[in-house]
Amino acid sequence: MAAKSLTIEIVILERSRMGSSMDVPEPRLPQDGWGRRFMDKRLWYLIAGTRGGINRARILWTLHDRPYNANDLATRLALDYKTIRHHLDVLRENDCVMTLGNESYGTLYSLSPRLQVHFEDFLEIWRRIEPRLGEK
């Protein structure tokens, strides 16, 4: 009896932990306009000005749906796991994505609040990329 209730308790704890870590935090709206200008420039730099920019855009588009871990992203985008990790690191340095929960193998990545707020800027770039994706 004691063992059973303990199991139930663990399951409940586990679920509540998962539930809270799966939630994408509410985007915070910046008080002034500086965030928009910088995010727009940063996205252009990350996508047009650096190596693997198109794949970075594909990662951001995929994470727009829901959070994924690096391994899932690698499978979905048919890219190398290490490539994905590298892109995620760069995107995180530039405050475009963030990790959910503590860092470990299966860490989930989601769009950062700042990118969520300025997602329209990303969409402007994405509209150029999406129609060309099948061509390669």
């Binding site: 252009w44 996508i47 047009a48 650096t50 190596r51 198109i54 590298h86 770039i125 060309r132």
Partner: protein, 89 residues
């Protein structure tokens, strides 16, 4: 001689930059990536021309031309190498 090596290194760095810019242009077709390509191509032409003139003019123009050119080439190479370094990540 060092002039030629520096200009050659700049050419290599610019080809690296072009590789990045062309790859992104193919997926993006934006004015920004087109501009980046024009930028890199013109400097590529400039460096190839510098190498050509260095050889062609070495007959009669001596160190008076070669030394200032060396300084220009060195500064240019450092600039392009920095740009490639931050773009390659």
């Amino acid at each position: 001689m060092i002039d030629l090596v520096l200009a050659g290194a700049s050419v290599a760095v610019l080809i690296g930059l072009l590789y990045i810019y062309v790859g992104n242009y193919r997926g993006l077709r934006s004015p920004l990536s087109a501009g980046l390509i024009v930028f890199a191509v013109l400097f590529l032409v400039e460096n190839l021309a510098a190498m050509y003139f260095y050889v062609a003019l070495s007959e009669w123009a001596g160190a008076g031309v070669a030394v200032p050119m060396l300084a220009l080439n060195a500064a240019e190479l450092v600039g392009f190498a920095t740009l490639l370094y931050v773009s390659w990540r």
